[in-house]
């Protein structure tokens, strides 16, 4: 370990985590539309990064472990990213990423049913 995590680091990280939690709840109460979810998830990612770096001491651990953790996160992001691209590109009846077109498509499908 190159540097020890001090008590001061832990307390500052904890205060930041609680503040970010308050920010998450506040953001969820704002009329931000569908971006509100992505803002909440971005804040969650920031909180997770804080826990990883300070509480789990990834910032101060052995270099090899830092590489392993970095690669794990990279593969995880690629996997989640590809999954989301797959979901959003499917021609499902309702797709929030293509909301207007999807609503039109759903209406057309509904209207077409009696035929």
């Amino acid at each position: 370990m190159s540097r020890e995590t001090t008590l001061w680091h832990l307390i500052v990280a904890f205060a930041m985590l609680q503040s970010l939690l308050a920010l998450t709840v506040w953001a969820a109460r704002q009329p931000l539309g569908s971006t509100g979810v992505w803002i909440s998830l971005s804040i969650a990612a920031l909180k997770a990064l804080l826990v990883l770096l300070v509480f789990m001491e990834v910032a101060n651990t052995h270099r090899t472990i830092r590489i392993v953790v970095g690669v794990l996160i990279l593969w995880f992001m690629i996997w989640i990213g590809l999954g989301l691209v797959d979901y959003s590109s499917r021609s499902w009846p309702v797709n929030p990423l293509l909301s207007d077109r999807a609503v039109d498509a759903e209406r057309l499908l509904t209207e077409a049913k009696p035929l």
Binding site: L10, L17, Q30, G33, L41, K47, V51, F55, T64
Partner: protein, 213 residues
């Protein structure tokens, strides 16, 4: 000279042991991330398919209790980090105390979660147990299937964490054995991982039904 050599060897052995334990645990945590990632990805896919029913269903959840539970879990992460910090120091008396505090906060989290489950059972929101409310559409019921599966898997992991923390704490306190610092560190890594999972589950499940939708 021989004593110095032995001490150096011992420090090197400890360093390697610690490195191996950490590496093994990180690989395990990677596999756990894949498990929770799959569940969350499935939930997001269904949410994309049924955005409005999922927002309606999410509005049924008790956001205040979810927020309180998140704050409790973040506090438990601090006490766990303090336990690791104390275990590394020369005076280890604080470590079992912080470990016990961590386990107590974990139990508090599960108690509140259990109360939430009871409320949801009472409100007929458990799709396969309670009498189904005809007002709940199938996509809303699907949300609750995902909700109980995700939070249930998390609660089981937390329960396992509490058992391990209490075992480490009791061995360190009541027996002549001293738990190695590396064990406390590894338990800490697992605990923080369970905390990270909840950090993502909270906005994903609880904050979909707010005014931002």
């Amino acid at each position: 000279m021989i004593g110095d050599k032995k001490r150096t060897e011992s420090a090197e052995t400890y360093r390697r042991r610690r490195w191996t334990a950490h590496l093994g645990l990180w690989v395990f945590l990677g596999s756990e991330a894949m498990l929770f990632g799959s569940l969350a990805l499935g939930f997001i896919g269904l949410r994309m398919l049924y955005p409005e029913p999922f927002a309606v269903a999410s509005a049924h959840l008790k956001t205040a209790l979810g927020t309180l539970n998140t704050a409790i879990l973040l506090t438990s992460s601090l006490t766990m980090a303090l336990a690791v910090h104390a275990a590394r120091g020369t005076r280890r008396v604080g470590a079992p105390l912080f470990l016990f505090g961590t386990a107590a906060l974990g139990v508090l989290f599960l108690t509140i979660k259990g109360y939430e489950y009871y409320q949801e059972y009472h409100d007929h929101l458990v799709p396969w147990w309670s009498a189904r409310d005809p007002a709940l559409s199938p996509p809303v019921q699907l949300f609750f299937v995902c909700y109980f599966f995700l939070t249930g898997a998390h609660a089981l992991h937390l329960l396992l964490g509490i058992i391990i923390v209490l075992m480490v704490c009791s061995i360190d306190t009541f027996s002549a054995l001293r738990i190695p610092t590396v064990t406390v560190e590894c338990v800490g890594l697992y605990w923080h991982f369970v905390d990270i999972v909840w950090i993502f589950l909270f906005p994903l499940l609880y904050l979909y039904g707010g005014p931002s939708q």
